[in-house]
Amino acid sequence: MSTRLPTGGRFIDRSKPLNFRFNGRKFKGFEGDTVASALMANDQKVVGRSFKYHRPRGIVASGPEEPNALFTIGKDGEREPNQVGTITELAEGLEVKSQNHWPTLETDIGSMANLGSNLIPAGFYYKTFMAPRQAWKHLFEPAIRQSAGLGQPPNQNDVDHYEHFYLHTDILVVGGGMAGLLATRLLAETGLRILLLEQSPNFGGRLVQDHAEFGEGASQDWVDSTLLELFSSKNVTMRSRTSVSGIYDHGFVIADERFPNTSGKSGYLKRRLWKIRTKRIVLATGAIERPLCFAGNDLPGVRLASGVRDYLINYGVSPGDRTAIITNNDDAYRTAIALAEVGLSVPLILDTRMEIRGTLPTRAKNLGLRIEPARGIGEVLGKKTVSGLEMCSQVGEGTSLEKIGCESIAVSGGWSPTVHLWSHCNGKLKWDETKVMFVPDWKHPPIDSHGKQNIFPVGSANGYLQLHEIPSQVEQIVRQVAREFDKDLPEIQLPHTREITEDRCHGTWLIPYSMKPKKKMKAWVDYQNDVKVSDIDLAVLEGFESIEHSKRYTTLGMATDQGKTSNVNGIALVSHNLGIPMDKVGTTTFRPPYSPIPLGAIAGSAGKELFKPTRKTPIDAWHVSQNAHWEPVSDWRRPYCYLLEGESVENAVNRETLRVRTTVGMLDATTLGKILVKGKDAAKFLDLIYTNAISTLKPSRCRYGLMCDENGFLMDDGVVARLDETTFLCHTTTGGADHIHGWLEDWLQCEWWDWRVYTANITDQYVQIGVAGPDARNVLDKLGGMDLGEEALPFMSWKKGILGGHEVQVYRISFSGELSFEISVRASEGLELWEKIHEAGQEFSIEPYGTEALHVLRAEKGFIMIGDETDGTIIPQDLGLDWAISKKKDDFLGKRGQQRSYLTDPDRWKLVGLEVLDNDEPLPHGVYAQCETKNEFDHPKMEGRVTSTYYSPILKRPIAMGLVERGTERMGEVIKFNCGNKMIKAKIVSHIAYNTD
């Protein structure tokens, strides 16, 4: 039984009890508890099921390295899966659910995977699910989906609040343990901007619970007084509960700040994502204890020795009445001493080393604890939880020498510096044979944009585990960092610590050394991904010798674990198998995030209506008042149509289309791109940008122009108006405005930079109103102010004037085939003019029309639409636009591209009209025409596709355009379109459906 002790627990406040639920059952804890410590205090041994085998799993660690205790926290819109129980703070009423079991945590059907014990070996998925193909869809995948995966995604919208926070700083110190605090304290007086981030709620790291040698009570005093000094330093910013999850190029850092007990509360933030730019980083991230590989090491009750110590000292939780210790180093003796000092039983300390001489073992011995050198664990006893162990000789095969009863086993396989952040940006590691750990290789550090080292590991993150070594080492490194800013450190008293001698850790990887194959199937390397010693053996046997290969084959150290506890043991086993040294095996690549960040934090406040800005024209409110049905067009919203009371979208579009054909309609065309091109060389420049000649355009005239990219593919189209000798207004598509402006600038800045041309994107500066239909001129004449007659303003010309009291430019252009004017007016006057035109048009039954009517009107006339008839692989010649491609110009963008043989192939698909036979249903968008013959891949050959398809209310039949192989030569031919469940026949006709003359 793990229970709460009557006293102790420096993090908990016993006067503030909290109630929470675990899988629906009521539990009690205290303020200051983590979910994990509270579960332990309530004797909840099994907290989850393992990933592959669904074996029962318990809490192993006390920090973010915890591989098993992943929970779904909260319910409904607050629900969040995969929360690490060891860092999730307890709150009143918290709903905690275990994961990865079916149907219940106690009885899991999936654990049958366990029965054959080697049913799912390394590479199982690769080997098993190869054939038959059908079985994958109907058998394997549903079964795997049921049993695999970590947690369930939430099924409701997230109700919680998140934000992003940006910060620039000189030095970021990661980790608020002794090394981090000391580094910050030393740097504080340099005046540099310092940011100190600590992942846990409490500063001090392992100093207080581990290092009595600091002096009785002195360690907490030192932490408190240092914090007090730092709080008063204006240039120091400190945050606890903020985990640095990734370091990226040029000193960019992501950190995740947690606010406990805020979920579901309106007005409170749940998480804040910090985006930090820092010049230098001091890495004081400490070290993580390694487990050891022995048979049954995944049974609930087997925990890291440091974790046992933390629960005992920080939370006042007993791991069980009897705790056996197994270790290959001196540090685990701290756990034994701590347990003994509170009066718990430590029946046995198994030390895999032959000789045990350090200060701590001596102290343990003096407490009367039984220490067995050169001994290991043959097997852990117990079914669902630990009930005892079999002691064996470490150098043997595991023969049981003695059975020991215990409820808890504390394991220490030595410590690994937390080097993840060092590695994120290419910092290399080296194997330290003496310390038995990978340490940062200062010869190959992460660098900044100037090629200088920008991350400086200190303390145990740098491989210095002995307390007395740390102060001087921190000072030395921090002094080096300060010098880079031309600063010197103040002379301050470094904390003095008594030196205690710790003996070398011994690189023990397998317990016992000659573990039998059957036992290897019960010895776990990676708890989270269910990787056993036997899996690594098998991977190496099958030739996955590179650590990067065996990692992927076995899934060792993947997912949220990121090798925190499993990495070094896995590498050691590969090294052991291949008989090559550790540093030759190397390490896998640590990748961000160091600890998982919820998607909500990554999204920040950019959700819902803030996900993406919506651009609105100055007439938007009017559209709203007329019941506009919206369509997003690039970042804009535009009316698709305007719905009358009770009207369907389809009927509205037909009504609007017919209105333009019979009397007059008006369109908000503001979103069309408007780019001003001005300068002595503007005409010469536009001759190269457009496929047709622009320089021959006379002032006051307009011309439809095409822009191609260097491949020759049609990119954008629009009307160019020459305003004067050196000024042009280039209209672009709505979606193309910014991109085309950038395109023009690219050529001006990077290719023809000595030409005198200037561009300006003035799309937002003007409102553009289209007035189209037989009565268009009559409406505008009513407004008065300028002559818009045929002679004064012929087709494809423009003029300036006053219309209804507004300064305007009127373009006589048409995208519908009807008499049409586009009126451009200052944006600020746009709505007023729009309303005046609408008013004047009443006697002609004027109606606004939306983008869909615009599409129908243009399709009836066979006009192309960028994005419908084009898709980035279409040249103007495919669309019958040869007339808009100059034969006289020496050069234009795309000219050389269009000369390529593939693009001059006479078999290319050409734009034609498509008429369905016998009043058949309309052709669906995008369907392909299928031949009777087969192509080179033995699939039916395709000979065309539909690019635009609409119902034409004026023709009272469906119309369509499409690209068909040699289409223009095949007028009258009938081809068949594969529409999924049926073939629709269509006749090839002219692409102009309405008013063909």
């Binding site: 190029d249 730019r277 944009s449 600038e745 690219d746 800045q749 990077c750 050389r896 591209g897 390529r900």
Partner: protein
């Protein structure tokens, strides 16, 4: 997440302000070019493991295109310079030479020409 100094406005700009434009100093091949030359201009890029000269636009800033000398392996930046030039200025070369020697420059013979 790179930080690059825009040589026009002098701002040390975050990558979120910038748009990348691929390899710099390409020679445009027009209507009279051979298929091979045109292919080279349109499609073939160095993609070096090492030092690259590339185009960036301060799109969310002053709008200007500029060039960057960057190491694709270490993300070191050797300098930025205006785009109105056919090759990098000598000061960029000096920085590269001061930080790289011989083979380490990662320059192949084609690339080396651009630097000379």
């Amino acid at each position: 997440m790179l930080k690059l100094v825009c040589p026009y406005c002098g701002i040390e700009a975050d990558e979120t302000e910038l748009v990348s434009g691929g390899e710099a100093h390409l020679k445009r091949e027009g209507p009279d070019s051979t298929d091979d030359d045109f292919e080279g201009y349109l499609f073939l890029r160095e993609n070096p493991k090492g030092i690259i000269l590339e185009r960036w636009r301060h799109a969310m800033g002053c709008g200007k295109w500029f060039h960057v000398a960057r190491c694709t392996v270490t993300q070191e930046v050797f300098g930025t310079y205006p785009a109105q030039t056919l090759k990098p200025p000598p000061r960029i070369m000096e920085v590269i030479k001061s930080r790289r020697t011989g083979q380490e420059t990662g320059l192949n013979s084609d690339n080396a020409e651009k630097f000379s």
